[in-house]
């Protein structure tokens, strides 16, 4: 496998990073992408995450040359590829539907793009063989794609793109069609494969778990814009907006205003300490796992009193929904089974959290 790595590095530009500047795109008067700026580092596993219709697939297609942007420019390495058609770009795509050529065998599917590379027959066959073994499909080269399972077709699509030794591999919702267990296995495998070949991966998904578990960095998209770019931990712990906070994981949001001593006050609920507060109001964002559960009123620190509305046992964790007077929605707290043991509906509890766990985000109203 070290061979593959060496080759792909030789084939790639000296710097295969991607630089996207001011990309906009409209379809029939609807703005799908608005002034997108993005930098992706060489060898990075980068995800475009967002709900359907947020423009992420269009951006991927523009990267691959399958759509033309209305304005803006794209560079891959030191080359401006904005006006290069798909067939001339150093990118290859793994399509959502896999897009197998139904009339060709697995091996011929993988070899499809190599015709242009003017290789000898033996060299070409060896490459195909090596790729198939890289994606664990040894010996299936003579099969027809229709005889393969979804997961296997997915691997053929991967091999077919990787054999081209692209500078950038584009993956469009590539795992969406697989069932959950296979998807989880493929996530790990894809990540390992990416490290092995050292190619820049741009991965489009609407599944936040998928993006979180695989990516070096993620761009969260919504309404044709990039809402936030960051490492998975940054996005989770320090969301920049309500949209990002709500899209990634579950979160509790409490409206607050600044008050004396740099503290934050929620009307009728009390004042809280928050390390990220800077004299402004907004939304206090608390992840479910930030909370501690107390059955007696704690002496000090941030706390909210409420009544248990529901306890959900999920094996490794329990989820508590707590009604707090003055808040419209119940707060969600996750805790260990032991912490929730014995709690039932209408029991009085105090939810506590430390000043560093809460995060103040701007209110969008």
């Amino acid at each position: 496998m070290t061979d593959t790595r060496k080759e792909s590095h030789m084939a790639a530009d000296p710097d295969s990073g991607i630089s996207i500047r001011g990309i906009s795109k409209s379809f029939d008067g609807t703005r799908v992408l608005r002034d997108i700026d993005l930098e992706v580092g060489r060898g990075e596993f980068f995800s475009l995450l967002g709900p359907s219709g947020c423009g992420k697939s269009t951006l991927l297609n523009i990267l691959g040359g399958l759509e033309t942007p209305d304005s803006g420019s794209i560079r891959i390495g030191d080359r401006d590829v904005t006006h290069l058609p798909a067939e001339k770009r150093p990118t290859n795509m793994v399509f959502q539907s896999y897009a197998m050529f139904p009339h060709l065998s697995v091996a011929k599917n993988v070899a499809y793009g190599l015709r242009r590379k003017r290789l000898g027959r033996r060299e070409r066959d060896e490459k195909v063989e090596r790729m198939l073994s890289l994606v664990h499909l040894d010996g299936l080269g003579d099969r027809n794609p229709s005889e393969l399972s979804g997961g296997q077709r997915q691997r053929v699509a991967l091999a077919r793109a990787l054999v081209m030794e692209p500078a950038v591999l584009l993956l469009d919702e590539s795992l969406a069609a697989l069932d959950r267990r296979l998807r989880e296995a493929m996530q790990i495998e894809l990540r390992e494969l990416q490290r092995e070949v050292g190619i820049t991966f741009v991965f489009v998904t609407h599944d936040q778990d998928e993006a979180m578990s695989m990516s070096d960095r993620i761009a969260v998209m919504g309404g044709g814009r990039i809402l936030q770019i960051g490492r998975p931990t940054e996005l989770y712990h320090a969301p920049a907006s309500r949209e990002v906070a709500e899209f990634i994981g579950s979160i509790n949001l409490i409206e607050v205003t600044p008050c004396a001593g740099g503290r934050l006050e929620a009307p009728g609920l009390g004042a809280f300490d928050c390390d990220s507060a800077a004299g402004e109001g907004g939304l206090l964002a608390l992840r479910p796992e930030c909370f501690g559960i107390a059955r007696e009123a704690p002496a000090a620190g941030n706390r909210l009193e409420g009544r248990v509305r529901e306890v959900t046992f999920l094996g490794d964790r329990s989820y508590l929904r707590v009604n707090v007077e003055g808040l419209e929605d119940p707060l969600i707290a996750s805790c260990s089974f032991r912490e929730a043991e014995g709690l039932s509906r209408d029991d009085r509890v105090w939810l506590t959290w430390s000043a560093e766990d809460g995060r103040l985000i701007p209110s969008d109203r």
């Binding site: 067939e87 897009a99 015709r115 027809n144 077919r160 793109a161 081209m164």
Partner: protein, 265 residues
């Protein structure tokens, strides 16, 4: 109970099946039977075995000319109809067009219009324009009738294939022409072959249009019709008919073998 049940049903079913097959094939099998009959009157009882009608075939230049005309017209019409039908089907299945539904409905019109009316109209048109009747006018008539079939066959074939393979081909470095040759053509090949066979057959045994639109160079059905006045010529026509049957049979078997061989691959 079950035994009598199992015995009774097949008897009825078998009888039905046998009658059905007789009804279908006896008229057809009469053609080769009488082509080997040693007598000019086409009636039972058979008079004895002969191959002389087959020998006489090669000495009937007019009949052979008619056959040649039919083959040439059929070949040209099937290729033209399939080519044009494929292009039309491509546009209809790949691009959003205003008024697509009425336009595609309009394409099918020649199929539902009575052939005699169409033939009469074309005859008048050709007379008015003044180009004169020929095999070209016959071909034109056949083309009008064959085009909707070719279009329909190709549309269902092209509709069933996924646009993403075209994108994949371009993504893997092939331009439009190479994508067409390496992806579109092989995927639509079965449709193209069925369209060619269907339109060729339609043209080959079309009578009404050929009758109206031909002059001295006639196609085979028109020639056969003109020969019915001479009962002595009928066995030769039957001999030719048997050969055509045999050729169709070989073609169908060959096509089926090819199809299986491809899917096994």
């Amino acid at each position: 109970m079950t035994r009598s049940h199992a015995r009774k049903r097949p008897v009825l079913l078998t009888a039905y099946a046998v009658l059905f097959l007789l009804f279908l094939y006896v008229p057809i099998l009469l053609v080769p039977a009488f082509s080997f009959n040693d007598g000019t009157i086409v009636a039972f009882p058979l008079q004895g075995f002969t191959t002389r009608w087959y020998g006489e075939l090669s000495r009937s230049p007019e009949l052979l000319a008619a056959l040649r005309h039919s083959l040439v017209v059929g070949a040209c019409v099937s290729v033209l109809a399939t080519g044009l039908g494929t292009l039309g089907a491509w546009v209809v299945t790949r691009y959003p067009l205003p008024g697509k539904a009425p336009v595609t409905g309009f394409i099918m019109l020649p199929i539902v219009a009575p052939l005699v009316v169409l033939a009469g109209a074309l005859f008048l048109l050709v007379q008015t324009v003044g180009v004169g009747l020929s095999l070209y006018t016959v071909g034109l008539g056949h083309l009008i009738v064959c085009l909707p079939f070719a279009f329909q066959v190709m549309r269902s074939r092209l509709e069933s294939f996924d646009d993403s393979v075209l994108k994949a081909s371009r993504d893997l470095g092939e331009g439009r022409v190479a994508t067409f040759l390496r992806v579109v053509l092989p995927i639509s090949a079965p449709g193209i072959i069925s369209s060619l066979l269907l339109t060729f057959t339609l043209s080959f045994d079309e009578f009404v249009l050929s009758f109206f639109l031909s002059s001295t160079e006639v196609t085979l059905p028109v020639y056969i019709w003109s020969q019915l006045r001479f009962p002595g010529r009928l066995p030769v026509v039957l001999a030719l008919g048997s050969l055509i049957l045999l050729a169709s049979f070989v073609l169908v078997v060959l096509g089926e073998v090819l199809r299986r061989w491809r899917t096994d691959d």
